[in-house]
């Protein structure tokens, strides 16, 4: 069945959800199996509308739950098709079991994860609890800070994930509401250019190859399971980083938009820096520039690729910084923040002596204001001057009640 192409302006006004849905349309996906959940619903809805309006040739399967959505994706990917879906929060929690199946079966699937807090208390707004919950699930994780990046990273994710040396599913994170529902100018690619960049899907070990019958999802016990998991980790650590760099470079050649695993802003001569993810990166950049006018040499590091974690790039980015704050938008549940832990891990066996402190912020969509960041940069400058962390290592930003500080 023929499908129609869509005429796009060079710059369209799209929110993050629509940008993701448009990229999915342009990738000419074979199967989308999905179940809507706030705030990712408009991705699924938008894609379904493209299908109804004949802009999509592939199958759109409405299922009875997120568990079924990811199961449908696993089946379709094993059968040998290009596959994607979207979800948030509780939906991801219900999918979690099948996420491990997908990565263990080495099936390339693209999942748009519109970040939202996890209940209880029930909350539909953005934080990174869902992103962190599946951090060990063996999926590649990209983080978009804006609708433009949500669009670009979708196209990039298909390329990386489906590469025959990779075959690892990929999540594209974007902040619930602040990115997903905020319309901004998005530079588009024409349908042909976008599809050519993603490329035709090349099946591998597909079940519809009747001349080479294959059983997917076999059982292994203590005699084989460890080797499979070791290989998955090895490929994440040794193959995926290079592939991501390669696809980022190709994307820059095509569009002029340059992505890095670690996005540095004013870091070259900085004394103090904030490391964070999502829309907070853009706020922190704005404040960092303002701090420079006040004589504080501030920089910002945004984590573009959360898995595989860019340990070496992070260490390189902050090696000359005196005081660094790591911001985690997730309740730490009796530990240091995840990002704080990863960054400590990337510095531990170096000779670097950086005053490293961690902050929990923004849970359930609580705003991270510019005033918060001004205070934070001032606190970092004090740490930098003292050559050590003057506060406790873990603090909370923007929560009501007596000050919280631990460790």
């Amino acid at each position: 069945m023929a499908f129609d192409k869509m005429e796009l302006k060079d710059i369209e006004v799209w929110d993050g959800n629509h940008a993701a849905a448009q990229a999915m349309r342009q990738a000419q996906i074979d199967v989308v199996a999905a179940y809507p959940i706030t705030p990712s619903t408009p991705i699924v809805e938008g894609y379904a509308k493209f299908k109804a309006d004949n802009y999509v040739e592939g199958e759109f399967v409405m299922v009875e739950s997120e568990h079924a959505a990811m199961s449908g994706c696993v089946g379709a990917a094993a059968a040998g098709g290009r596959v994607a879906t979207a979800t948030s929060s509780q939906g991801l929690a219900l999918m979690a079991e099948v996420l491990y199946q997908a990565s263990g079966m080495r099936l390339p699937i693209v999942l748009n994860l519109v970040n939202r807090a996890l209940a209880a208390p029930l909350n539909v707004n953005g934080d990174h609890s869902d992103m962190y919950m599946v951090r060990d699930s063996g999926w590649i994780q990209f983080d978009a800070f804006s609708p433009q990046e949500a669009y670009d990273l979708n196209l990039i994710a298909f390329r990386v994930s489906e590469d025959h040396d990779v075959r690892i599913p990929a999540i594209i994170n974007q902040d619930g509401f602040i990115t997903s529902h905020t319309a901004q100018g998005v530079h588009t690619l024409s349908d042909d250019v976008a599809y050519n960049f993603v490329g035709e899907y090349k099946p591998m070990n597909d079940m519809l190859d009747f001349e080479n019958p294959v059983t997917h999802g076999v059982q292994t016990e203590e005699d084989w399971h460890f080797e499979h998991k070791a290989r998955q980790h090895n490929d994440m650590m040794t193959i995926v980083p290079g592939k991501i760099e390669e696809v980022f470079a190709d994307f820059e050649k095509l569009t002029g938009r340059k992505y890095n695993k670690v996005e540095c802003y004013d870091m070259n001569d900085a004394d103090v820096a904030v490391v964070c993810m999502g829309t907070s990166v853009e706020t922190a950049r704005e404040v960092a520039t303002e701090m420079r006018a006040k004589g504080i040499k501030a920089g910002v590091v945004g984590i573009r690729v959360f898995r595989p974690f860019p340990f070496f790039e992070i260490a390189e980015a902050i090696k000359d910084i005196k005081a660094v704050a790591v911001l985690d938008r997730c309740a730490p549940g009796g530990a240091a923040g995840t990002l704080f832990n990863e960054i400590s891990g990337s510095l531990y066996n170096t000779d670097l002596k950086i005053a490293l402190s961690g902050y929990i912020y923004g849970l359930g969509g609580r705003d991270l204001t510019k005033a918060h960041l001004v205070d934070l940069f001032n606190e970092l400058q004090a740490n930098a001057d003292a050559g050590k962390v003057l506060t406790q290592q873990q603090q909370f930003i923007g929560v009501r009640g007596p000050k919280l500080a631990y460790l």
Binding site: R167, P213, T215, V218, D223, H228
Partner: protein
């Protein structure tokens, strides 16, 4: 299956059913001529999962193929629409074949796993006149 290192097998939790390429429709190749791989369950015996077993008595069989159609484990061996016997490496002893066998007396009956087939065939029940 040889115990290979993590870098020595295909990615994904998958197993190949056959060695090399096969004809698009393997049903056209008789089972004995298929190049089953060492990982195929065809070559693995699961006979020890069974507690009771079916015994086949060809004297009463009318080759209706009911048992072949109904066996959930594809363990009835049939060639040219003739019932040949039971694949005792894969039969799980569920007894469905016995249930569906329409002859009187039945051409398939269940016995304890350790029962001797010759003895049971020699004392096979006769026609049950009262059967509805």
């Amino acid at each position: 299956m040889a115990k290979q290192g993590w870098d020595e097998f295909e990615i994904g939790s998958l197993l190949r059913s056959f060695d090399g390429k096969i004809d698009k429709c393997p049903a056209h190749t008789p089972q004995r001529d298929r190049s089953y791989s060492e990982n195929n369950s065809h070559v693995a015996s699961v006979a020890d999962w069974r507690l009771i077993k079916p015994v086949y008595n060809k004297d009463y069989c009318i080759d209706c193929q009911f048992c072949w159609v109904y066996c959930p484990d594809v363990s009835i061996i049939s060639r040219d629409k003739k019932m040949i016997g039971i694949d005792m490496d894969h039969c799980k002893g569920c007894g469905i074949c016995v249930e569906v066998c329409p002859t009187n007396p039945k051409s398939l009956l269940m016995f304890p796993e350790q029962a001797d087939e010759e003895t049971e065939l020699a004392s096979w029940p006769t026609k049950d006149e009262e059967e509805e």
